[in-house]
């Protein structure tokens, strides 16, 4: 099951004006795998995700989804349907109820019948435990609920991979758990996930592999055990130590 790479990123580069944010990043994500990207702020992690689904166009390099070179895709809108995206600040459509947020991609993009879309959307809301909140508007939901709707919305499109851009960074500490729980569930159900996060507990317990990025480069990548217990690179060690001190997760 976990063999052929679903996503291949090759030598990706991006600069904004003078600042080179990505300096040549390459990695693979296999089907069913959960890969976590960690690293200090401003090292290009979010830009990397945005470059993968072409919300930001990379300057150089290739991104392959299965056997399609999507950096040169003719119809990127079609490709984006296959890549879910979960935003740090949720990105829920504020004028629509939770249910309609999940439905809109199905009705407007996939052109499904309204009733079919409603059923599918309800099913996804049920999965993230928000069936009862279906008719509430984003302004009526807590941060954790909003992000769970965001995940349901991405899931409803039945994507091949979901990209998470710091999904819990805008949440109060007590709301982080419910979102991580949903993500953990998802990972265990075999969804392919690429997650940018600062949640070391999640990285450690859920991910198959961790990528440590700094200054636009991948410094080190490997299994959670290896990175946490036995990092090759001095910077990785420093960064993880600092986080462990902060959150008391060293054991």
């Amino acid at each position: 099951m976990k063999n052929n790479p679903l996503l291949r990123v090759m030598n990706l580069k991006k600069r904004f004006g003078e600042k080179e944010v990505l300096k040549g990043v390459s990695f693979n994500v296999k089907e069913g795998e959960t890969k976590v990207i960690i690293g200090p702020s401003g090292t290009g992690k979010s830009t990397l995700l945005a470059c993968i689904n072409q919300l930001v166009n990379p300057d150089e390099g290739e991104v392959w989804l299965k056997d399609e070179l999507i950096t040169q895709a003719k119809d990127m809108n079609k490709i984006r349907q296959r890549i879910g995206f979960v935003f740090q600040d949720f990105g829920l459509f504020n004028h629509l109820t939770a249910l309609k947020n999940v439905m809109i991609g199905l009705t407007k993009v996939k052109k499904l019948d309204k009733n079919v879309a409603r059923e599918k959307a309800l099913e996804q809301l049920r999965k993230v435990g928000l069936e009862r909140e279906a008719d509430l508007y984003p302004a009526q939901l807590s941060g954790g609920q909003k992000q769970r709707v965001g995940i349901a919305r991405a899931l409803a499109m039945e994507p091949e991979i979901i990209l998470f851009d710091e999904p819990t960074s805008a949440l109060d500490p007590e709301l982080i758990g419910e979102v991580l729980y949903v993500m953990k569930d998802l990972a265990e159900s075999g969804m392919t996930m690429l997650v940018v996060t600062h949640e070391m507990g999640f990285a450690r317990s859920v991910s198959d592999e961790i990528i440590f990025m700094e200054n636009g480069y991948i410094v080190e990548q490997g299994s959670p055990e290896k990175l946490f217990k036995n990092p090759e690179n001095e910077r990785t060690r420093q960064f993880l130590n600092k986080l462990s001190e902060l959150y008391g997760e060293g054991d």
Binding site: L55, R80, H95
Partner: protein, 197 residues
């Protein structure tokens, strides 16, 4: 008002999404028409265009004059409303596979519309009342009609009060129905205090 809306919508879209040249054009357009009194605009159109060989009836001149000035104000209202919708909304729409147009149509526009409605209602009543300036070009609008009646009835105050009352009723009715429209489209999170931010 209709003409103003018809000009204003493309202007505001262009100002948000358009190229540099178009944006510059909109800025110049707005500066000019927001800086000239309505009455002067009316005279310029009515007496100016015939010199270039284009002749308007007074009525058409008034429609044009009110329309192009209101367009300048309305495009500001819409531009502000569109720009108040955070960029993440469009990014989220695109991430689902929507085209830029779909994202605008289904995500940005419905939200911008709700934010623009109250100031737009305000502009509507201003244009409605400014239609009395058509008097100056000899159009038989409410005020002139009143003048005719006064000349035969010799009851100026009664007639002027009646005209005032008619304007009041029309404006009041329009405002009320727009308010109803606002309530109809109201969504939690889009109350006025939210849109001021």
């Amino acid at each position: 008002m209709g003409l103003g809306l018809a000009i204003a919508l493309p202007l505001s879209f262009g100002q948000v999404y358009g190229g540099k040249v178009f944006k510059a054009f909109v800025i110049v357009y707005e500066r000019i028409f927001r800086s000239i009194p309505e009455l002067v605009i009316l005279f310029l159109i009515f007496y100016g265009f015939p010199r270039a060989g284009i002749r308007f009836s007074p009525f058409t001149a008034v429609i044009l004059g009110l329309g192009i000035r209101s367009a300048a104000y309305q495009s500001q209202i819409f531009r502000g409303a569109i720009e108040s919708i955070s960029a993440t909304q469009m990014r989220a729409a695109r991430s689902l596979g929507m085209t830029k147009f779909q994202g605008f149509r289904y995500v940005v526009l419905p939200q911008a519309f709700r934010i623009a409605l109250p100031p737009w209602a305000n502009e509507f009543t201003i244009v409605l009342k400014d239609s009395s300036l058509a008097y100056a070009l000899g159009v038989t609008e409410l005020l002139r009609q009143g003048g005719y009646i006064i000349s035969t009835s010799y009851e100026p105050m009664l007639i002027y009060l009646t005209i005032a009352a008619i304007y009041f009723v029309i404006t009041f009715a329009v405002n009320r129905s727009l308010k109803k429209l606002e309530e109809f489209f109201s969504v939690p999170g889009f109350e006025l205090k939210e849109s001021i931010r």
